[in-house]
Symmetry: C2
Subunit: 215 residues, 2 copies
Amino acid sequence: MGSAMLKLYNRERSGNCYKVRLMLSLLGLEYEKVPVDRQGKGRNNPPPDFGKLSPLRQVPVLIADGRPYWGTIAILVYLARKHGGTGWLPNDAEGEAEVTQWLSFGQNEIFYGLGRARSMRAKRWHGYGTLEEAHAIAAHALGVLEGRVAEHDWLALERPTIADVACYSYTVFAPEGGISLKSYPAVRAWLERIQALPRYLPTPPYDGAGGPLVE
Amino acid sequence: MGSAMLKLYNRERSGNCYKVRLMLSLLGLEYEKVPVDRQGKGRNNPPPDFGKLSPLRQVPVLIADGRPYWGTIAILVYLARKHGGTGWLPNDAEGEAEVTQWLSFGQNEIFYGLGRARSMRAKRWHGYGTLEEAHAIAAHALGVLEGRVAEHDWLALERPTIADVACYSYTVFAPEGGISLKSYPAVRAWLERIQALPRYLPTPPYDGAGGPLVE
Protein backbone atom coordinates (compact mmCIF):
# COMPACT_ATOMS: atom_id res chain seq x y z
CA MET A 1 0.00 0.00 0.00
CA GLY A 2 1.55 3.29 -1.01
CA SER A 3 1.58 6.28 1.28
CA ALA A 4 -0.19 8.22 -1.49
CA MET A 5 -3.35 6.66 -0.10
CA LEU A 6 -3.04 8.70 3.12
CA LYS A 7 -5.43 11.59 3.65
CA LEU A 8 -5.42 13.86 6.73
CA TYR A 9 -8.41 15.89 7.89
CA ASN A 10 -6.40 18.74 9.28
CA ARG A 11 -6.43 22.16 10.90
CA GLU A 12 -3.04 23.85 10.62
CA ARG A 13 -2.99 25.43 14.09
CA SER A 14 -4.28 22.36 15.96
CA GLY A 15 -1.45 21.01 18.10
CA ASN A 16 -2.84 17.50 17.71
CA CYS A 17 -2.92 17.79 13.90
CA TYR A 18 0.66 19.09 14.03
CA LYS A 19 1.73 15.93 15.92
CA VAL A 20 0.40 13.83 13.06
CA ARG A 21 1.95 16.04 10.35
CA LEU A 22 5.29 15.90 12.22
CA MET A 23 5.11 12.08 12.38
CA LEU A 24 4.21 11.86 8.68
CA SER A 25 7.19 14.07 7.90
CA LEU A 26 9.63 12.15 10.12
CA LEU A 27 8.55 8.95 8.37
CA GLY A 28 8.92 10.57 4.95
CA LEU A 29 5.32 9.82 4.00
CA GLU A 30 3.30 11.73 1.42
CA TYR A 31 -0.32 12.55 2.11
CA GLU A 32 -3.20 14.74 1.08
CA LYS A 33 -4.48 17.42 3.46
CA VAL A 34 -8.21 18.14 3.80
CA PRO A 35 -8.69 21.45 5.65
CA VAL A 36 -11.36 21.41 8.37
CA ASP A 37 -12.68 24.52 10.11
CA ARG A 38 -13.13 24.67 13.85
CA GLN A 39 -16.20 22.83 15.11
CA GLY A 40 -19.35 24.89 14.97
CA LYS A 41 -17.88 27.55 12.74
CA GLY A 42 -19.87 26.34 9.74
CA ARG A 43 -18.82 27.11 6.17
CA ASN A 44 -19.71 23.50 5.27
CA ASN A 45 -16.67 22.39 7.18
CA PRO A 46 -16.38 19.86 8.84
CA PRO A 47 -18.43 18.09 6.19
CA PRO A 48 -21.91 16.91 7.24
CA ASP A 49 -20.81 13.29 7.38
CA PHE A 50 -17.70 14.00 9.50
CA GLY A 51 -19.34 12.13 12.39
CA LYS A 52 -19.01 8.95 10.35
CA LEU A 53 -15.24 9.41 10.31
CA SER A 54 -14.89 10.40 13.97
CA PRO A 55 -17.56 9.91 16.65
CA LEU A 56 -16.02 12.83 18.55
CA ARG A 57 -16.14 15.05 15.42
CA GLN A 58 -12.59 16.21 16.08
CA VAL A 59 -9.51 16.58 13.93
CA PRO A 60 -7.14 14.95 13.24
CA VAL A 61 -8.67 12.08 11.30
CA LEU A 62 -6.40 9.99 9.09
CA ILE A 63 -7.78 8.02 6.16
CA ALA A 64 -5.50 5.10 5.33
CA ASP A 65 -6.42 2.61 2.63
CA GLY A 66 -9.94 4.00 2.75
CA ARG A 67 -10.39 3.49 6.49
CA PRO A 68 -10.70 6.34 9.02
CA TYR A 69 -8.64 6.58 12.21
CA TRP A 70 -9.47 9.18 14.88
CA GLY A 71 -7.67 10.07 18.08
CA THR A 72 -4.18 11.53 17.85
CA ILE A 73 -2.46 8.73 19.76
CA ALA A 74 -4.20 6.06 17.71
CA ILE A 75 -3.03 7.76 14.51
CA LEU A 76 0.56 7.98 15.77
CA VAL A 77 0.40 4.28 16.73
CA TYR A 78 -1.00 3.42 13.29
CA LEU A 79 1.69 5.34 11.38
CA ALA A 80 4.57 4.08 13.50
CA ARG A 81 3.41 0.47 13.40
CA LYS A 82 2.58 0.50 9.69
CA HIS A 83 5.47 2.53 8.34
CA GLY A 84 8.12 2.88 11.07
CA GLY A 85 9.34 -0.64 11.79
CA THR A 86 9.92 -0.96 15.53
CA GLY A 87 12.03 2.18 15.79
CA TRP A 88 9.29 4.64 16.68
CA LEU A 89 7.10 2.11 18.53
CA PRO A 90 8.58 -1.18 19.76
CA ASN A 91 6.50 -4.35 19.88
CA ASP A 92 7.88 -5.91 23.05
CA ALA A 93 5.76 -5.47 26.17
CA GLU A 94 8.43 -3.62 28.15
CA GLY A 95 9.32 -1.16 25.42
CA GLU A 96 5.78 -0.48 24.31
CA ALA A 97 4.69 0.17 27.90
CA GLU A 98 7.56 2.62 28.42
CA VAL A 99 6.51 4.56 25.31
CA THR A 100 2.83 4.41 26.27
CA GLN A 101 3.49 5.98 29.69
CA TRP A 102 4.56 9.18 27.95
CA LEU A 103 1.79 9.04 25.34
CA SER A 104 -0.67 9.26 28.24
CA PHE A 105 1.35 12.03 29.87
CA GLY A 106 1.17 14.02 26.63
CA GLN A 107 -2.57 13.56 26.41
CA ASN A 108 -3.24 14.35 30.06
CA GLU A 109 -0.85 16.68 31.87
CA ILE A 110 0.65 18.32 28.77
CA PHE A 111 -2.61 18.77 26.87
CA TYR A 112 -4.76 19.85 29.83
CA GLY A 113 -1.98 22.21 30.93
CA LEU A 114 -0.01 23.58 27.99
CA GLY A 115 -2.47 22.74 25.22
CA ARG A 116 -5.47 24.30 26.90
CA ALA A 117 -3.46 27.39 27.92
CA ARG A 118 -2.54 28.02 24.29
CA SER A 119 -6.14 27.67 23.08
CA MET A 120 -7.58 29.67 25.96
CA ARG A 121 -5.17 32.56 25.54
CA ALA A 122 -6.06 32.71 21.82
CA LYS A 123 -9.81 32.63 22.71
CA ARG A 124 -10.15 29.37 20.78
CA TRP A 125 -11.10 27.12 23.71
CA HIS A 126 -14.73 25.99 23.78
CA GLY A 127 -14.35 23.48 26.63
CA TYR A 128 -14.18 23.86 30.40
CA GLY A 129 -11.70 25.37 32.83
CA THR A 130 -9.75 28.58 33.37
CA LEU A 131 -6.36 29.82 32.19
CA GLU A 132 -5.12 29.77 35.80
CA GLU A 133 -5.98 26.07 36.12
CA ALA A 134 -4.26 25.33 32.82
CA HIS A 135 -1.13 27.21 33.89
CA ALA A 136 -1.00 25.29 37.19
CA ILE A 137 -1.28 21.93 35.41
CA ALA A 138 1.32 23.09 32.88
CA ALA A 139 3.80 23.95 35.65
CA HIS A 140 3.34 20.48 37.12
CA ALA A 141 3.77 18.85 33.70
CA LEU A 142 6.91 20.85 32.89
CA GLY A 143 8.43 19.88 36.24
CA VAL A 144 7.91 16.18 35.52
CA LEU A 145 9.20 16.59 31.96
CA GLU A 146 12.29 18.51 33.11
CA GLY A 147 13.06 15.73 35.59
CA ARG A 148 12.92 13.12 32.85
CA VAL A 149 14.87 14.84 30.07
CA ALA A 150 17.51 16.13 32.49
CA GLU A 151 18.55 12.49 32.87
CA HIS A 152 17.67 11.04 29.46
CA ASP A 153 18.01 12.45 25.94
CA TRP A 154 14.61 11.03 24.94
CA LEU A 155 11.42 10.26 26.84
CA ALA A 156 11.59 6.50 26.36
CA LEU A 157 14.10 3.82 25.36
CA GLU A 158 17.02 6.26 24.90
CA ARG A 159 15.94 6.99 21.32
CA PRO A 160 13.30 9.12 19.59
CA THR A 161 9.88 7.47 19.62
CA ILE A 162 6.27 8.54 19.16
CA ALA A 163 6.39 9.51 22.86
CA ASP A 164 8.63 12.46 21.95
CA VAL A 165 6.39 13.42 19.02
CA ALA A 166 3.30 13.28 21.24
CA CYS A 167 4.80 15.45 24.00
CA TYR A 168 6.71 17.88 21.76
CA SER A 169 3.77 19.65 20.16
CA TYR A 170 2.13 21.52 23.03
CA THR A 171 5.43 21.93 24.88
CA VAL A 172 7.08 23.82 22.03
CA PHE A 173 3.97 26.06 21.84
CA ALA A 174 4.33 27.07 25.53
CA PRO A 175 5.20 30.74 24.77
CA GLU A 176 1.93 31.07 22.79
CA GLY A 177 0.08 30.00 25.92
CA GLY A 178 1.80 32.56 28.11
CA ILE A 179 4.19 30.00 29.62
CA SER A 180 7.93 30.62 29.83
CA LEU A 181 10.37 27.74 29.35
CA LYS A 182 13.26 29.75 30.86
CA SER A 183 13.29 27.68 34.06
CA TYR A 184 13.33 24.40 32.12
CA PRO A 185 16.76 24.17 30.43
CA ALA A 186 16.61 20.40 29.95
CA VAL A 187 13.20 20.69 28.28
CA ARG A 188 14.58 23.34 25.90
CA ALA A 189 17.54 21.12 25.02
CA TRP A 190 15.16 18.21 24.39
CA LEU A 191 13.04 20.39 22.06
CA GLU A 192 16.22 21.23 20.13
CA ARG A 193 17.11 17.55 19.82
CA ILE A 194 13.73 16.92 18.21
CA GLN A 195 14.20 19.90 15.89
CA ALA A 196 17.49 18.38 14.75
CA LEU A 197 15.91 15.07 13.67
CA PRO A 198 16.07 14.25 9.94
CA ARG A 199 12.88 15.39 8.12
CA TYR A 200 11.74 17.49 11.13
CA LEU A 201 8.70 19.60 10.22
CA PRO A 202 8.75 23.17 11.61
CA THR A 203 5.80 24.36 13.70
CA PRO A 204 3.27 26.67 12.02
CA PRO A 205 4.24 30.34 12.50
CA TYR A 206 2.51 32.08 15.42
CA ASP A 207 -0.53 34.09 14.33
CA GLY A 208 -0.47 36.41 17.34
CA ALA A 209 -4.00 35.49 18.48
CA GLY A 210 -2.95 35.04 22.12
CA GLY A 211 -0.99 38.27 22.45
CA PRO A 212 2.77 38.65 22.90
CA LEU A 213 4.83 35.47 23.12
CA VAL A 214 6.23 34.78 26.59
CA GLU A 215 9.91 33.94 26.35
CA MET B 1 8.96 -15.21 34.00
CA GLY B 2 6.24 -16.21 36.44
CA SER B 3 3.32 -13.94 37.18
CA ALA B 4 4.22 -14.32 40.88
CA MET B 5 6.73 -11.55 40.19
CA LEU B 6 3.92 -9.00 39.68
CA LYS B 7 3.30 -6.41 42.39
CA LEU B 8 0.59 -3.72 42.21
CA TYR B 9 0.69 -0.47 44.16
CA ASN B 10 -3.03 -0.19 44.60
CA ARG B 11 -5.91 1.75 46.13
CA GLU B 12 -9.07 -0.34 46.19
CA ARG B 13 -11.52 2.43 45.26
CA SER B 14 -9.38 3.97 42.50
CA GLY B 15 -11.12 3.32 39.18
CA ASN B 16 -7.75 3.21 37.44
CA CYS B 17 -6.42 0.60 39.88
CA TYR B 18 -9.60 -1.41 39.35
CA LYS B 19 -8.94 -1.46 35.58
CA VAL B 20 -5.56 -3.08 36.25
CA ARG B 21 -6.96 -5.55 38.79
CA LEU B 22 -9.71 -6.47 36.30
CA MET B 23 -7.14 -7.06 33.56
CA LEU B 24 -4.97 -9.16 35.88
CA SER B 25 -8.03 -11.22 36.77
CA LEU B 26 -9.17 -11.66 33.14
CA LEU B 27 -5.68 -12.89 32.29
CA GLY B 28 -5.66 -15.23 35.31
CA LEU B 29 -2.48 -13.69 36.71
CA GLU B 30 -1.46 -13.78 40.36
CA TYR B 31 0.03 -10.70 41.96
CA GLU B 32 0.80 -9.05 45.25
CA LYS B 33 -1.09 -5.91 46.28
CA VAL B 34 0.65 -3.04 48.06
CA PRO B 35 -1.96 -0.68 49.54
CA VAL B 36 -1.31 3.04 48.98
CA ASP B 37 -3.23 5.84 50.69
CA ARG B 38 -4.52 8.85 48.81
CA GLN B 39 -1.84 11.40 47.95
CA GLY B 40 -1.19 13.85 50.74
CA LYS B 41 -3.02 11.82 53.35
CA GLY B 42 0.24 10.69 54.96
CA ARG B 43 0.43 7.63 57.19
CA ASN B 44 3.76 6.74 55.53
CA ASN B 45 1.85 5.90 52.41
CA PRO B 46 2.71 6.36 49.54
CA PRO B 47 6.23 5.45 50.62
CA PRO B 48 8.82 8.28 50.56
CA ASP B 49 10.49 6.86 47.46
CA PHE B 50 7.24 6.45 45.51
CA GLY B 51 8.40 9.21 43.14
CA LYS B 52 11.10 6.83 41.91
CA LEU B 53 8.41 4.40 40.80
CA SER B 54 6.09 7.01 39.24
CA PRO B 55 7.08 10.59 38.38
CA LEU B 56 3.41 11.56 38.77
CA ARG B 57 3.25 9.90 42.23
CA GLN B 58 -0.06 8.26 41.28
CA VAL B 59 -1.42 4.73 41.59
CA PRO B 60 -1.58 2.30 39.90
CA VAL B 61 2.07 1.32 39.56
CA LEU B 62 2.87 -2.23 38.47
CA ILE B 63 6.21 -3.82 39.29
CA ALA B 64 7.03 -6.57 36.81
CA ASP B 65 10.31 -8.42 36.94
CA GLY B 66 11.59 -5.69 39.24
CA ARG B 67 10.74 -2.83 36.88
CA PRO B 68 8.04 -0.19 37.60
CA TYR B 69 5.34 0.77 35.09
CA TRP B 70 3.12 3.79 35.72
CA GLY B 71 0.13 5.06 33.79
CA THR B 72 -2.97 2.90 33.62
CA ILE B 73 -2.97 2.53 29.84
CA ALA B 74 0.71 1.63 29.80
CA ILE B 75 0.09 -1.06 32.42
CA LEU B 76 -2.83 -2.50 30.43
CA VAL B 77 -0.65 -2.52 27.30
CA TYR B 78 2.16 -4.23 29.23
CA LEU B 79 -0.08 -6.96 30.65
CA ALA B 80 -1.91 -7.64 27.39
CA ARG B 81 1.28 -7.72 25.32
CA LYS B 82 3.24 -9.82 27.82
CA HIS B 83 0.57 -12.27 28.94
CA GLY B 84 -2.40 -11.99 26.56
CA GLY B 85 -1.10 -13.01 23.16
CA THR B 86 -2.73 -10.81 20.53
CA GLY B 87 -6.27 -11.35 21.80
CA TRP B 88 -6.51 -8.35 24.09
CA LEU B 89 -4.17 -6.14 22.07
CA PRO B 90 -3.38 -6.96 18.44
CA ASN B 91 -0.01 -6.16 16.92
CA ASP B 92 -1.10 -5.16 13.44
CA ALA B 93 -1.25 -1.42 12.78
CA GLU B 94 -4.95 -1.38 11.89
CA GLY B 95 -6.10 -3.40 14.89
CA GLU B 96 -3.85 -1.69 17.41
CA ALA B 97 -5.00 1.75 16.20
CA GLU B 98 -8.65 0.74 16.54
CA VAL B 99 -8.08 -0.37 20.14
CA THR B 100 -6.01 2.74 20.92
CA GLN B 101 -8.80 5.09 19.80
CA TRP B 102 -10.93 3.82 22.68
CA LEU B 103 -8.06 3.75 25.16
CA SER B 104 -7.78 7.51 24.61
CA PHE B 105 -11.54 7.95 24.85
CA GLY B 106 -11.47 6.17 28.22
CA GLN B 107 -8.69 8.40 29.49
CA ASN B 108 -10.23 11.62 28.20
CA GLU B 109 -14.01 11.83 27.89
CA ILE B 110 -14.86 8.98 30.26
CA PHE B 111 -12.33 9.88 32.95
CA TYR B 112 -12.84 13.67 32.86
CA GLY B 113 -16.59 13.12 32.82
CA LEU B 114 -17.63 10.00 34.73
CA GLY B 115 -14.40 9.46 36.68
CA ARG B 116 -14.21 13.00 38.01
CA ALA B 117 -17.94 13.06 38.83
CA ARG B 118 -17.53 10.00 41.04
CA SER B 119 -14.54 11.45 42.90
CA MET B 120 -16.07 14.90 43.21
CA ARG B 121 -19.36 13.61 44.59
CA ALA B 122 -17.44 11.58 47.21
CA LYS B 123 -15.33 14.69 48.08
CA ARG B 124 -12.22 12.84 47.02
CA TRP B 125 -11.24 15.07 44.08
CA HIS B 126 -8.20 17.29 44.63
CA GLY B 127 -7.89 18.53 41.05
CA TYR B 128 -9.73 21.19 39.08
CA GLY B 129 -13.26 21.61 37.76
CA THR B 130 -16.84 21.39 38.99
CA LEU B 131 -19.38 18.57 39.24
CA GLU B 132 -21.53 20.32 36.63
CA GLU B 133 -18.65 20.32 34.12
CA ALA B 134 -17.97 16.65 34.84
CA HIS B 135 -21.63 15.75 34.33
CA ALA B 136 -21.73 17.60 31.00
CA ILE B 137 -18.62 15.79 29.74
CA ALA B 138 -20.06 12.49 31.02
CA ALA B 139 -23.29 13.01 29.05
CA HIS B 140 -21.27 13.63 25.90
CA ALA B 141 -19.12 10.55 26.56
CA LEU B 142 -22.12 8.31 27.21
CA GLY B 143 -23.76 9.49 23.99
CA VAL B 144 -20.68 8.53 21.98
CA LEU B 145 -20.39 5.20 23.83
CA GLU B 146 -24.08 4.40 23.32
CA GLY B 147 -23.69 5.05 19.60
CA ARG B 148 -20.80 2.62 19.37
CA VAL B 149 -22.10 -0.29 21.45
CA ALA B 150 -25.57 -0.03 19.94
CA GLU B 151 -23.97 -1.24 16.71
CA HIS B 152 -21.13 -3.41 17.99
CA ASP B 153 -20.89 -5.86 20.90
CA TRP B 154 -17.39 -4.60 21.78
CA LEU B 155 -15.58 -1.29 21.40
CA ALA B 156 -13.01 -2.57 18.92
CA LEU B 157 -12.42 -5.53 16.62
CA GLU B 158 -15.72 -7.27 17.47
CA ARG B 159 -14.14 -8.95 20.48
CA PRO B 160 -13.20 -7.99 24.05
CA THR B 161 -9.93 -6.04 24.19
CA ILE B 162 -8.16 -3.75 26.64
CA ALA B 163 -10.33 -0.97 25.14
CA ASP B 164 -13.37 -2.46 26.89
CA VAL B 165 -11.44 -2.88 30.15
CA ALA B 166 -10.24 0.75 29.98
CA CYS B 167 -13.72 2.18 29.35
CA TYR B 168 -15.67 -0.16 31.62
CA SER B 169 -14.36 1.03 34.97
CA TYR B 170 -15.67 4.58 35.28
CA THR B 171 -18.77 3.81 33.22
CA VAL B 172 -19.96 1.08 35.59
CA PHE B 173 -19.40 3.50 38.51
CA ALA B 174 -21.75 6.11 36.95
CA PRO B 175 -24.45 5.78 39.67
CA GLU B 176 -21.81 6.61 42.35
CA GLY B 177 -21.15 9.85 40.48
CA GLY B 178 -24.80 10.83 40.36
CA ILE B 179 -25.20 9.77 36.72
CA SER B 180 -28.08 7.57 35.58
CA LEU B 181 -27.54 5.00 32.85
CA LYS B 182 -31.29 4.60 32.28
CA SER B 183 -31.17 6.40 28.92
CA TYR B 184 -28.28 4.27 27.69
CA PRO B 185 -29.64 0.73 27.18
CA ALA B 186 -26.85 -0.32 24.81
CA VAL B 187 -24.22 0.80 27.33
CA ARG B 188 -25.95 -1.24 30.05
CA ALA B 189 -26.00 -4.31 27.82
CA TRP B 190 -22.29 -3.82 27.04
CA LEU B 191 -21.50 -3.60 30.78
CA GLU B 192 -23.31 -6.92 31.24
CA ARG B 193 -21.32 -8.52 28.44
CA ILE B 194 -18.11 -7.55 30.25
CA GLN B 195 -19.50 -8.89 33.55
CA ALA B 196 -20.12 -12.24 31.82
CA LEU B 197 -16.50 -12.67 30.71
CA PRO B 198 -14.59 -15.62 32.23
CA ARG B 199 -12.63 -14.56 35.33
CA TYR B 200 -14.45 -11.20 35.55
CA LEU B 201 -13.58 -9.36 38.78
CA PRO B 202 -16.53 -7.64 40.50
CA THR B 203 -16.25 -3.93 41.30
CA PRO B 204 -15.53 -2.93 44.90
CA PRO B 205 -18.77 -2.45 46.87
CA TYR B 206 -19.96 1.17 47.09
CA ASP B 207 -18.93 2.83 50.35
CA GLY B 208 -21.68 5.46 50.24
CA ALA B 209 -19.28 8.42 50.31
CA GLY B 210 -21.08 10.24 47.48
CA GLY B 211 -24.61 9.87 48.83
CA PRO B 212 -27.43 7.77 47.37
CA LEU B 213 -26.72 5.88 44.16
CA VAL B 214 -28.50 7.28 41.10
CA GLU B 215 -30.20 4.47 39.22
